[in-house]
């Protein structure tokens, strides 16, 4: 009985915190918040003992509760955190209310380029062009300006070409939890990189490394 009501309390507090936040909050963010009150002692201090796993479990339960209640509001996992957002069903009216225009959509070449970057990151321009069979010179600046893509380092190939990866804004734009949330990421990342592969066998070797979120700078290879 006691445990159930504690769970209930935790869920309500989490809902309140995520609701008030102005950005997606991760379980880690929330744990840090709870721990920041530890020194105050008293009732607040008890919250500092909650683990990230307990917080995540409660958030997930809250997400399920919201969905079951069909409130028109969802607790969504986006870009590594939780946030409240409207049910897409009401999107038309929310847009009208906010006076927002329907945003232009990305073009096919832009989407394809983005797909190659997302699945294969970090990648060079040559890697992308090897897949698309055509130059991406006009697309990359557009994606960079929209901050969907960023330079994550430089390759060790001759000329040290730049390596591109996706950004948090990319995850938000497509409503993705993290990069592994992309369907079929295992398979698409694993198809060997032709051409580029020949030049950097070690980089292409562990396929899972390519599927990970962009690193700041690639490890220099010997």
């Amino acid at each position: 009985m006691e445990a159930t009501s504690n769970q209930n309390l935790l869920r309500r507090v989490l809902g309140a915190v995520v609701f008030a936040a102005r950005r997606p909050l991760s379980a880690r963010d929330i744990r840090a918040l709870f721990q920041s009150a530890e020194a105050d002692g008293g009732e607040a201090a008890a919250w500092a003992n909650l683990s990230e796993a307990e917080i995540t479990a409660a958030l997930d339960q809250l997400r399920i509760d919201c969905e079951a209640a069909a409130l028109g509001v969802q607790l969504a996992q986006v870009a590594g955190g939780y946030r409240f957002q409207n049910d897409p069903v009401g999107g038309l009216w929310v847009r009208r209310l906010l006076g927002a225009d329907r945003p232009a959509r990305l073009s096919r070449p832009a989407l394809e380029t983005l797909a190659v970057i997302a699945y294969r990151q970090p990648v060079t321009r040559a890697d992308i062009e090897a897949v698309r069979g055509v130059s991406v010179d006009h697309v990359i600046p557009v994606l960079m300006e929209m901050q969907l893509v960023r330079i994550v380092g430089r390759s060790d190939l001759p000329g040290r070409p730049m390596l591109y990866g996706t950004t948090t804004a990319f995850l938000e734009h497509f409503g993705l939890k993290d990069i592994k949330d992309l369907p079929g990421i295992e398979e698409l990342a694993r198809i060997e990189l032709r051409r580029a592969q020949a030049a950097k066998p070690e980089a292409a070797d562990p396929p899972d490394a390519a599927a990970l979120p962009p690193q700041e700078e690639k490890e220099p290879q010997s």
């Binding site: 986006v78 409240f84 897409p88 906010l98 945003p103 959509r105 070449p109 983005l114 069979g133």
Partner: protein, 246 residues
């Protein structure tokens, strides 16, 4: 072919792999067993159309044409006479097939991203500002569920219809792309869809068809009209931009 008054600078952002995948789909052939002769002929036909229209196409199109020709000639050789470039590469088509299959997977991934993007258009986060970065219309043609090659195919049909009547060209009046832009806008203004074929029904000459088609591409690029195709390889309709269904 295209006279000066018809000149429109149109950049093509599709590449040769897009054209090949389009032809494979259209001809309903097996990607792992491409009838290279047939596909090469078609590829050259579309390349010819794009050149006739003076579209700015990537140099990669020419490289691919050469590749196709080479594969075709190697296929003609008896198997034992083929140059043994790489031992495991017995079928001269193999490298191309691999590229096509890989690219096709990414096209599907891009399609999935598009579906997510459409869903996210209707999602607004609580608390924060709208997070979606404003999308700059990039310079490519605003084609949604239709490819440039679908348009070229329809254009080709219109051309073929007129081919036998070429003689009338001498008497026909000359049109400019600008004239045709006005005409299309006027006809699409009612908000009702305009059938692609109806644009060319009264066209008397190749020149007129070319001008009309270039006018259409220009209007699409300027986002004044949108072009739709309800079924795969089905009829194409033209909608004035502000009236197009979502």
């Amino acid at each position: 072919m295209v006279q000066d008054e018809c000149r429109v600078q149109l950049e093509v952002f599709e590449g040769p792999l897009d054209l090949l995948l389009y032809l494979i789909r259209k001809e309903e052939v097996d990607i792992y067993d491409i009838p290279i002769e047939r596909i090469t002929t078609q590829y050259m036909e579309y390349l010819g159309l794009m050149r006739m229209l003076d579209l700015n196409i990537a140099g990669e199109f020419i490289v691919m044409a050469a590749t196709l020709m080479m594969i075709k000639s190697r296929m003609l050789l008896p198997e034992e006479d083929r140059p043994a470039l790489e031992p495991e590469e017995e079928d001269p088509r193999w490298d191309l097939v691999r590229r096509l299959v890989e690219y096709k997977k990414f096209k599907e991934a891009a399609e999935h991203l598009l579906q997510r993007e459409i869903l996210q258009e209707n999602v607004f986060p609580h608390g924060g500002e709208p997070t979606a970065p404003s999308v700059e219309p990039d310079p490519s043609l605003a084609l949604e569920n239709i490819s440039l090659f679908d348009l070229l195919a329809a254009f080709n049909q219109a051309l073929k219809r007129i081919q036998t009547e070429d003689l009338t060209e001498i008497f026909a009046e000359q049109f400019t792309v600008a004239d045709k832009i006005e005409e299309i806008l006027l006809r699409a203004r009612g908000g009702r869809p305009l059938a692609f074929s109806s644009l060319f029904r009264e066209a008397a000459t190749r020149h007129e068809i070319v001008c009309t088609f270039l006018a259409l591409l220009e209007l699409v690029r300027l986002r004044q009209v949108t072009v739709r195709q309800e079924a795969d390889f089905g009829d194409i309709t033209i909608w004035s931009a502000e009236r197009a269904p979502v």
